[in-house]
Amino acid sequence: MAIYRLARSRTITRFLKTKICPFENIHERFITPNHSLFDAYSSYKTLAADFTRKPHELWDKTANILAFRRFESARAGEQAEAVAYTDDDDDDENQEQDPHDVVQAIDFPGGRVTFTPQIKFISESTDKRVPCYRVLDDDGYPIPGSRFEQVDKETAVKMYKSMVTLQIMDHIFYEAQRQGRISFYMTSMGEEAVNIATAAALSPDDIILPQYREPGILLWRGFTIEEFANQCFGTKNDSGKGRQMPVHYGSKKHNFVTVSSPIATQLPQAAGIAYSLKMDNKEACAVAFTGDGGTSEGDFHAGLNFAAVMEAPVLFICRNNGWAISTPISDQFRSDGVVVKGQAYGIRSVRIDGNDTLAVYSAIRAAREMVIREQKPILVEALTYRVGHHSTSDDSTKYRPLDEIEHWKTARNPLARFRKWVQRHGWWTDEEEAELRGSIRKQVMNAIQVADKTEKPSLKELFTDVYDRLPSNLQEQEKSLSETIKKHEQDFPADVPL
């Protein structure tokens, strides 16, 4: 490994800064209040594209000036920013140092690394936590100066109605489980904004790899209340053929990959799905969900690293809702949440207020645009709260204070906050609210009653789909089972057609 000496000069640093400054300007423009977000974003795109075309050129010039050699594999133009950083890094500490003195650097795969005579540890945390992007305050007023995507009446009302639908569906299905009509349920209570605003900001072509608390995406995409009910009751009309526990939805036509209970397994798969979209030049991305707990799984690491290295267009969305069943985030990680994990993988990331519908909508739209335009992954950390129990098998009052739950349920309620904003625009009235709630309630109750009476999938579905066709061992077992049923009909549920 060759080590090269290079002359460090303020002139060079200045030169680099000049070359790199468009990037800084972009950030400034990004937050300039005079632009709508999309405009700001477009200019960012233009500039960023301009920038990304040039780095090799820039790097070559820099390299010539600095007169050091490097590995071919180190041709990472993206490192230009790091070069600028490295070169003026010591300025503050070494003001009196001769600007023309000589520092050592190593040309290492990934880019030039300068040597330092000091043992300098990177801090385990920053002084300030990464800020959280927010548009609406708790009372639903836009925060002065906040940049957000303009939402028209139709979209705003549809988002709000969908959130209400999700909430009512959750309440009634939860009660149905309590009455023993379905075997299990998980609500999305408190996380309606992440569900719905994310769905609204995506394209229907984007492929969703859900964890299990994202039914709102399906709802937005047109999965009907009857379809939800059929899955939860495992009826013959469940597209999953009654094989999985309730809330394990899946819908090919809605680009929603069927839920699997294991955590974070979806993340590396998302990288593969996204890579295929990239190879097929699709104007779509993969969107993979995880919770705060899921970030601890090995698959989280695998998924993010693969997406970064393969430059796969994946939008990773972490619903950091504070609790993984009973495990608080303080027992889950010691980093500043999840958002900071992106950088270690070379993935751009953003932290957003997951209970702010407009913030989620704006951030996901911007993130999706970048993912698709740049064909690279992005990590979004949405701060939210699991207002409900983990599932119907859980009683969360055993491990978390009631007032904490109550606070998030009321003061930080995402529906209430968004409703205030929508109503202030004159797009929604109390009468419409009452009417909507009544009609959704009726629709859900009706769907449940119908599903409850609908027979289960026929018994042959026990054996199909294990493989593309029935192998001989399963043919044999099907035959043997059918003989058992003839002899002992009373042992088997009557609502499964034979």
């Binding site: 023993g180 075997s183 299990f184 495992g234 009654g242 094989r243 999985q244 526990m245 394990h248 699997s260 209970s261 294991p262 955590i263 707990g293 899921g294 601890s296 799984e297 090995g298 698959d299 993984a324 069943i325 009973s326 495990t327 027992d331 889950q332 990680f333 098998s393 859980d394 055993k398 491990y399 289960k456 999938p457 018994l459 579905e461 026990l462 054996f463 294990v466 061992n473 399963l474 077992q477 089972l481 058992t484 049923i485 002899k487 002992h488 042992d491 088997f492 549920p493 499964v496």
Partner: protein, 364 residues
């Protein structure tokens, strides 16, 4: 579903009330650490028996640790209730949600001479830790020429059907682990067994995977001595004597098999029922002796029949008792499908499936 729940519940009660089969204590099998003849016993369920064992393990060994997902507040099945309060959060703690991390951490802890009692929340979720178990825990001693070992490691995981668990809360993955030299696999059938076998597993100088029948956590209730006792590993137990056919099983399936034995008796068939308890290394001699007596063998487990541990038992017994066998070895097991939700009653090796197999084997 509800009817199967009740069925198992009744059976649990009848087994317990019978006082015949469940207590290795009364049949002299005990290698009790401190075998007091009349220790205080109380009727408790299986999760409470596990909980008692964990209290004793932590109390008797200051180098014992209990950890896993949600363990701090008592665990999703309440098995770790009260442990963190009593022994402190440095010995009983929540881990991040990462099975490979839990087992890898546990191996490291055990390698330093500690008793690492790790919980995997459901056996269905043990697979991210498969590498750590198969390539690391199982070979730690062997690959180092016995310079290192992680014998203090015990991995607890609830397994098996529960009536509504679907694909990912129902599986019985014991056979995967039975294919791995270097670890032991133990599965208890009742509260009293669970306590004694878990304490033996924790104190055994080899890594043990201990699967707990989650359907029985609340349903199975029996008298469990409050004292510290251990039940021997790798010793099967004849829990019902008979002369016409030998039935071999483990865990929750034994209660279903017991019902089939009772039914068969009404038809004049005398069944011998054996609880294997430890799947590897398993007690071939007890099974062999029984089959030499009865001339017939039936094995039953919830896991899919193909490649299940029943296949290993069948092959070994055919090797040892070929000339004595009067019928092919019968296997009544789960189907070769993923564990289904709605179709669970069809998938499972039910009492009547076993009864039919008993009859056809005896009448072969």
């Amino acid at each position: 579903m509800a009817s199967s729940l009740r069925r198992v519940g009744r059976l649990g009660a009848s087994i317990n009330g019978g006082g015949r089969c469940l207590s290795g204590l009364s049949t002299g099998n005990e290698v009790l650490k401190s075998p007091q003849e009349s220790g205080i016993s109380k009727p408790i369920n299986l999760f409470s028996a596990i909980n008692q064992a964990l209290h004793i393990a932590l109390e008797t060994d200051p180098r014992a640790y209990v950890f896993g997902e949600d363990v701090g507040f008592g665990g999703v099945f309440r098995c770790t209730t009260g442990l963190a309060d009593r022994f402190g959060k440095r010995r009983v703690f929540n881990t991040p949600l990462c099975e490979q991390g839990i087992v890898g951490f546990a191996i490291g802890l055990a390698a330093m001479g500690n008793r690492a009692i790790a919980e995997i929340q459901f056996a269905d979720y043990i697979f991210p830790a498969f590498d750590q178990i198969v390539n690391e825990a199982a070979k730690f001693r062997y690959r180092s020429g016995n310079q290192f070992n992680c014998g203090g490691l015990t991995i607890r995981a609830p397994y098996g059907a529960v009536g509504h668990g679907g694909h990912y809360h129902s599986q019985s993955p014991e056979a995967f682990f039975c294919h791995v030299p270097g670890i032991k696999v133990v599965i208890p059938r009742s509260p009293q067994q669970a306590k004694g076998l878990l304490l033996s597993s924790i104190r055994d100088p080899n890594p043990v995977v201990f699967f707990e029948p989650k359907w029985l956590y609340r349903l199975a209730v029996e008298e469990v001595p409050e004292k510290d006792y251990m039940l021997p590993l790798s010793e099967a137990e004849v829990i019902r004597e008979g002369s016409d056919i030998t039935l071999v099983g483990w865990g929750a399936q034994l209660s279903v098999m017991e019902q089939a034995c009772v039914e068969a008796e009404k038809d004049g068939i005398s069944c011998e029922l054996i609880d294997l308890k430890t799947l590897i290394p398993w007690d071939k001699e007890t099974v062999e002796a029984s089959v030499n007596k009865t001339g017939r063998l039936l094995v039953s487990h919830e896991a899919p029949v193909t490649g299940g541990f029943g296949a290993e038992i069948a092959a070994s017994i055919v090797e040892r008792c070929f000339l004595r066998l009067e019928a092919p070895v019968s296997r009544v097991c789960g189907l070769d499908t993923p564990f289904p939700l709605v179709f669970e009653p069809f998938y499972l090796p039910t009492k009547n499936k076993i009864l039919d197999a008993i009859k056809s084997t005896v009448n072969y």
